[in-house]
Symmetry: C2
Subunit: 225 residues, 2 copies
């Protein structure tokens, strides 16, 4: 990208993107002006332009960072669940996750990893700022093919990580089926994010139980759903 990769430059750049993210999540895309970002970051307009010559550069860098960060988070969550799952007993590494779920079905010890993964995703989505960020990302991608391409690549990788988890957890599931389960899981998570964030609804702990049950059935390899 534009200015050199000196430590200070990279740090400033990140701080400017932080400011842009704050403006975007608190005020929305239409108010994401260069002047607002500069003020939020405490620098002059001209200086912001030193790092991001055009507004489009700032937007592209912000989108890239949001997707990269989110994918890292997904990778962490699925990798943790996969390794925890590979050694179900006597593992000192990670938390076993909250309660095994008092649902109609029977949870085995193996499902602790699944619940930890699910808790990770859902608790991330309890942060309205993150969800707002993604509504902006979707709106951007809906009208900008370059952005859409990056967004699709992100979700493709997201689903791949989830599919890998499914295959490890439920070896009887075919690769294709694991992929489909993962895709539906991601759809469900993105849809639920809208409702958890207060944008389209309010979080409900009761519906949460049903949501979790569906997600568990999808990722756990159960035949019926």
């Amino acid at each position: 990208m534009s200015p050199g990769p000196t430590p200070k430059g990279q740090q400033r750049r990140a701080a400017l993107l932080d400011a842009a993210e704050r403006v975007l999540t608190s005020a929305g895309g239409s108010e994401l002006t260069l002047r607002a970002v500069a003020e939020e970051a405490g620098v002059r307009l001209g200086h912001l332009q030193y790092y991001f010559p055009a507004r489009a550069d700032l937007l592209a860098a912000l989108l890239d960072r949001v997707l990269t960060t989110s994918l890292e988070r997904v990778t962490d969550l699925t990798d943790t669940a996969r390794t925890a799952n590979a050694e179900p007993d006597e593992e000192s590494g990670l938390e076993p996750g909250p309660d095994p779920g008092p649902d109609t079905g029977l949870d085995t010890g193996l499902d602790a990893a699944l619940d930890a993964l699910l808790d990770g995703v859902l608790s991330d989505h309890d942060d309205p700022r993150l969800v707002r960020l993604f509504t902006e990302v979707w709106a951007l991608a809906a009208h900008d093919e370059e952005a859409a391409s990056a967004v699709r690549a992100f979700y493709d990788r997201y689903a791949s990580h989830v599919a890998s988890y499914v295959r490890d957890h439920a070896p009887g599931v075919s690769a294709a089926d694991a992929r489909h389960r993962a895709e539906v899981f991601v759809m469900l998570m993105e849809g639920s994010a809208l409702f958890r964030s207060g944008i389209t609804g309010r979080r409900s702990t009761d519906a949460d139980a049903r949501l979790r049950a569906v997600a568990r059935a999808l990722l756990g390899g159960e035949a019926r759903p």
Copy 2:
């Protein structure tokens, strides 16, 4: 709203909202300017302002129409499914008869209504314009509490209609459970819309089968998911 309810006035108003909707779905919220809408509608800027004195009035009217239209569609779909379901065998009254209870089983004739409902929702979501409209609605609601309130009311009613369907179709399901199933169904549909539209993914017929299976299990009252 503002100008009188004369036939011509209402017609013009609708035509102007049509134009605004086209601009919004093709160019996005940031390019939804009064001049662009006026040009799209073939009227002068001043005339557009005659119907919508401020930009905010246009936006509010557009949001209202989108939500009203979508809710009518949902009402149609669920009512059709409910009545179709209510008369499987000469029964015109309230109770749709005993649940066939196909827990692990095959589709009975009753499930035709469910599939019609599902087909209706999914085929609507195959129109990228509609989904783009909703990404804009979500982004708007994320930063405008008044819009968010209208959007939440819409989804609340949406879920209510679906819950009514579930109760009719599967009498063994409690009111609360039906509501939770409906909410998760709506989450799943909104999430899948993003992926069907090309914004976050591409439509995949294979994943579609899994998506439908999950939706059927939710709405059909199956115990497991």
